[in-house]
């Protein structure tokens, strides 16, 4: 069996290696981690799956991730986490809103509202770890995307593309306080190419 190659794009984050340590538990994959400010658009092509890490600030502070989504969203599997999720949403035209109060280090309950491959064999409600001060707005939500989970406070928690294998999650699957976080990452990796 051919090994699946996974690129983890690190947006100057301090949770990226939690994702990597989860990936290491999955058999038959190659994992490469690269800092987003050092990556070239063309080398992304060597990989089957792309994970865009969380990070500080807003996706516009890391312009390369928009270029990567633009270039590869029709051909590769992409999972965006937190900042990566906001990047996917705003790439397709979603508005980003600054929330108050901000939510850092908290576990909230979320509900899966539409079945999607990354939530395969996972309960409909689960507790997830959150670090966010920005969210995707319901207003002008892009037609290309669909909402797949929502938090107990009504905030959009995950999205996917209707046509492509692109998934975004607001919460942190790699967090200690997230239930089934490893399963979510594994589901993304196991999704047939």
């Amino acid at each position: 069996m051919k090994k699946i190659s996974v690129l983890v794009i690190d947006n100057a984050d301090s949770f990226t290696y939690n994702i990597v340590d989860y990936l290491r538990k999955i058999n038959n994959i190659n994992i490469e981690t690269q800092e987003s400010n050092r990556i070239s658009l063309s080398e992304v092509n060597y990989f089957d799956k792309i994970i865009i890490s969380p990070g500080p600030g807003l996706p516009k502070d890391f312009p390369i991730i928009y270029e990567i989504i633009k270039e590869y969203h029709t051909s590769k599997h992409i999972l965006g986490i937190c900042l990566g999720y906001l990047a996917i949403g705003s790439f397709f035209g979603a508005n980003l809103i600054n929330i108050f109060p901000v939510v850092h280090g908290q576990a909230h309950k979320i509900k899966v509202v539409k079945q999607t491959p990354i939530f395969k064999n996972i309960p409909k409600t689960l507790k997830v770890g959150l670090y966010h001060s920005w969210a995707i707005d319901y207003k002008n939500f892009p037609k290309e995307l669909e909402i797949t989970a929502v938090s107990e406070y009504g905030i959009i928690m995950s999205i996917s593309s209707k046509r492509f294998n692109i998934f975004g999650i607001q919460f942190h699957p790699e967090s200690y306080i997230t239930q089934y976080g490893f399963n979510i990452i594994k589901n993304f990796i196991n999704l047939n190419l």
Binding site: A12, D13, S14, F15, T16, Y17, N18, V20, D21, R24, K25, P54, G55, P56, G57, L58, N98, F100, P101, V102, H104, G105, Q106, A107, G129, Y131, H132, S133, W134, H172, E174, S175, Y176, I177
Partner: protein, 324 residues
């Protein structure tokens, strides 16, 4: 010495199983490393758990330490706090450890304070600074690496202190953040990261009041022959998560903007490699000599739920000498 020289030396001694002592500053500009047997010749006294290179006999003439505190004024503290909070709300940082020096006067000398202080980790560095840290940085044992981030402090004399601190949501969220950060850091240099103990309590006795501290234990598996790479292992974990914050890179930039002065060896790390394993501390509870006066450096973690009055109090509360 500079960073590269430090890494090379640590790797060299590590591979040859030669015990050494190391000390790294927060900015990683002035790193120090010497073989363990040379430490006392260089006027460096250390205690790490039960290992130490000095004794207290005939040294302590200063029985009751009295500290007079001259902390930063509140207005100045607030300015820095506001810089941090603005960045938290913008999503640039989730947790940031904000620190300031407090000038102190005392009836004891640095060396006397060093001998009086009771703590698992102590360092006297050539009469430039002393520290008596309760916080472990990393330990290794049987190819496992352990880290013990400490976040959450409460006055032990309060009724139900233990229950209050464990039930406090703000403390819990802050602790979650540090646990995720340290898991990440260990994942850089080790595998199979596990939280082996979550939010356990330890007690600290001080010259002022007794404190309860909340810690967790996080464990990872090191590669075979990790001693050959001790230098990289240490440096990749720095600055320590508990005294910087998350996400680390951006948070360190904000710290520089808010604190304005270098931290130096304060909030760096020190430790020993005994030829087989490492035990080390985060350089907190730190007193340094600056010209004719001495100052105590302290701080605390700022999150979106922090309020400046409490944080300012905590900064002053942490200026103490542990005596029992």
């Amino acid at each position: 010495m500079v960073l590269l020289e430090f890494i090379e030396k640590a790797n060299f001694y590590g591979a040859k199983h030669i015990p050494f002592l190391f000390l790294v500053d927060f900015e990683m500009h002035k790193l120090f490393l010497c073989t363990l047997d040379r430490a006392s010749k260089l006027n460096v006294l250390y205690q790490i758990g039960t290992k130490r290179n000095f004794d207290d006999k005939n040294t302590s003439i200063c029985e009751k330490p009295i500290l007079e505190l001259y902390p930063i004024n509140y207005e100045e503290y607030l300015k820095a706090f506001d810089i941090v909070m603005k960045n938290i709300l913008a999503g640039n940082t989730y947790l940031l450890n904000l620190t300031f020096p407090t000038t102190i006067t005392t009836n004891c000398s640095l060396l006397e304070l060093f001998h009086i202080a009771k703590s698992p980790y102590k360092l006297f560095f050539d009469n430039q600074f002393i520290l008596f840290s309760p916080e472990s940085f990393i330990k290794t044992k049987n190819r496992f690496i352990f880290s013990y981030p400490m976040k959450g402090t409460i006055d032990a004399s309060l009724p139900n202190a233990k229950k209050i601190i464990l039930k406090n949501k703000k403390e819990e969220w802050e602790h979650n953040t540090i646990v995720d950060l340290i898991r990440n850091d260990l994942s850089i240099i080790a595998k199979n990261i596990t939280v082996t103990r979550f939010r356990f309590i330890t007690k600290i006795y001080t010259n002022r009041k007794d404190l309860l501290q909340v810690s967790s234990e996080i464990r990872g598996k090191l590669p075979a022959n990790w001693q050959n790479k001790i230098g990289e292992i240490l440096v990749n974990l720095l600055p320590a998560g508990s005294i910087s914050g998350a996400p680390k890179k951006k948070t360190v930039e904000i710290i520089k903007e808010a604190e304005k002065i270098d931290r130096g060896y304060y909030t760096g790390i020190f430790g020993i490699y005994d030829g087989t394993n490492i035990d080390s501390a985060v350089n907190i509870r730190f007193i340094e000599k600056i010209g004719n006066h001495i100052r105590f450096r302290s701080g605390g973690g700022i999150t979106s739920n922090s309020n400046p009055i409490d944080e300012y109090r905590e900064l002053k509360d942490k200026v103490y000498v542990p005596i029992i």
